[in-house]
Symmetry: C2
């Protein structure tokens, strides 16, 4: 998921010789929200708001200004590059390691469940760094009073998704919190994967001239969850796209084309993902709105609610930035795979306007696609 | 922590060739609490109760009857052995992998904080399978309205503990839930470690004749948390024992003695850990109450509240079962290390009464030490 942050400058060096050094006294006065650049309500409130979990600018600020300084102990290291998973060298292997907690409501929604998300979300974080998933851990925080039948259904869904993805669940944990201090079931999954030889799909590798590919229609997951929440009822055709993407990535890799960057546009949607890539690679990205696949039912629902489908979460779509000469080959391979049938080329990377994403509208104009600040749809995963 | 369950029959085989197979339809009717053997309130209520998170018999039932069947898809595999971490073979390395969520209240208590527990608890799960910790992930579930300063203090504590243990935090995640659906801050850490050559400390390896060693005084962590909860005030000398134990385990391993089993007696305390070992190895364990180190302040507090210090959680103590001929050497090595100064030999393993733990009382009698059912102290870690 795009919200998983790799705190990983010199990650492999740290792993080879774990950092020594006594605990440092990092006082809480190192956290001063008044100095942050994020818009209200962050600065005004000095408390956590829903937007901090949205995977957009507010999440990034929390990570950069609060977590990273604390975890690095004021060592002055840079914020590093944001990635879906940390990559570590252990005994000659390159391992990928990634974690995600899942707090989606409702637990079951059209096309999936928290169990599907917990497996596929973490599997996809591994896939986006070019890793074959090896195994998952699963940790439950249960609220006292939760129906055991419902817990059973969630566990069944999680097990079924793991078998479908071919990734074993190998270790776990269960905690229970008092009634009123949870919400039924929260799940964390953490994944371990083996990075394929030569794979390096970091956002910073995008280059002017790259073609922007997307593996399927966007916006389905967020709208599916929304459709059964808040009393809204949409077209029955809106289903979550949750699926594991590692098989698709393997097929893309086998084309031999020069794939520079892979990301799955989860929280914050296509807009957040493209903005992060544009920033990390210092490139401009321009997409053509008409070429971005959006299911009619999703487009209709977004129109009614005034939501931008580019900012809606996906759980089974990837974005690939590929050197132009191999892009057609990769696109053909994606379309030939069951998980990429609706793949499309949606734009190009340029040296102009580094850090900025623009979209050519249906009317022939051009608009800036901003990084979403907080989240329009909270608790979507 | 003793509650981390290794779902790991044939774990390495699964990892070498991840299990294929489509999702199976495992109906929720596979969960029938009426058939479970656990005492009320589990059967009566059919809902999650605090005891399910206690690390005792109720947690084990939940894992065995609900999680394992769901995760294995009715494949008929046995429940497997419970372990602190899964061990996987990847590219010629033996990797340890373990997860824990932390929901302790209050967030800061005498001698430590949720940040210390989150690092040391997971580091110790790796250490108990003989692994050198390589890195940790950290995932936060934050409640809307949580003070950012408090979050900063927790992050600082987590970072300081990681530096003290020499283990880097390499990837993370942040989710936010609505006010009233969390409790400020929950943290999950998942750890990856490299298992030392030849190390195999599984509970099932305990053998008659083994000497039971404990690395320090028991009961401190649970009583420290309790001391600042529920309006109770104890002697100021009751501090949590939270500490990383991998350095101590390395020193013990270097004695060359035949260490059969290592465990850290966290939730459920010494009583739960010894019962699990007795069950897994089909041996009897008899301990001498007088030889088990318990700090005076902890013993006094337990007396006042009618609690058994053997059932109270520890966060910086390990239990080792060592072949008799090398036990003195291991004990001397432990006592020479700062983390094992109070180490003691507390009992022996026998072939009699397999699965049963007995304690010789101060009066010369003998009593059965039961596996705690739920938890006397909820949300202790």
């Amino acid at each position: 998921m795009s919200d998983t942050i790799g705190y990983r400058p010199q990650a492999s060096a740290q792993v080879r010789g774990a950092r020594a050094g006594a605990a440092q006294d990092i006082g809480s006065d190192t956290v001063d929200p008044a100095l942050w650049t994020c818009p209200v309500p962050l600065v005004d409130g000095s408390t956590v708001v829903m937007g901090h979990g949205g995977g957009g600018a507010m999440t990034a600020e929390l990570v950069e200004h609060l977590f990273l300084p604390a975890f690095r102990g004021g060592s002055g290291e840079g914020a590093g590059e944001l990635a879906d998973a940390a990559v570590l060298e252990v005994g000659g292997c390159r391992l990928a390691f990634t974690t995600d907690s899942f707090v989606v409501r409702p637990l079951f929604f059209p096309g999936g469940s928290i169990g599907d998300l917990a497996v596929n979300g973490t599997v996809n974080d591994l896939a986006m760094v070019g890793a074959r998933p090896l195994c998952l851990s699963t940790a439950f925080i249960l609220e006292e009073g939760t129906d055991l039948m419902e817990l059973g259904r969630v566990a069944d869904a999680l097990g079924a998704a793991a078998r479908a993805a071919g990734v074993p669940l190998v270790t776990g944990d269960t905690k229970v919190v008092d009634a009123g201090h949870g919400d039924g079931i929260y799940v964390n999954t953490t994944g371990l994967g083996l990075v394929a030889q030569g794979a390096d799909y970091r956002p910073g590798r995008a280059r002017p001239g790259d073609v922007v590919l997307v593996s399927g229609a966007v916006g389905a997951h967020g709208m599916a969850v929304l459709s059964c929440r808040e009393g809204l009822e949409f077209d029955a055709d809106v289903h979550s796209d949750t699926r594991p993407l590692h098989a698709l990535v393997a097929v893309m890799g086998r084309t031999g084309a020069d794939i520079h960057t892979l990301r799955d546009p989860t929280r914050g949607g296509l807009a957040a993902t493209l903005n992060e890539i544009a920033r990390d690679a210092s490139v401009g990205i321009s997409i053509r709105e008409r070429d971005v696949p959006v299911a009619d039912a999703v487009a209709d629902a977004c129109n009614i609610l005034g939501l931008d489908p580019f900012a809606i979460a996906n759980e089974g779509v990837l974005v690939a930035l590929v050197a132009a000469e191999g892009a057609d080959r990769v696109l053909a391979a994606m379309r030939a795979h069951p998980d990429g049938r609706e793949a499309a080329a949606i734009g190009v990377v340029s040296a102009e306007n580094p850090g900025v994403v623009t979209a050519r509208t249906g009317l022939g104009g051009s608009r800036v696609v901003d990084l979403p600040t907080g989240t329009e749809l909270p608790r979507i995963c």
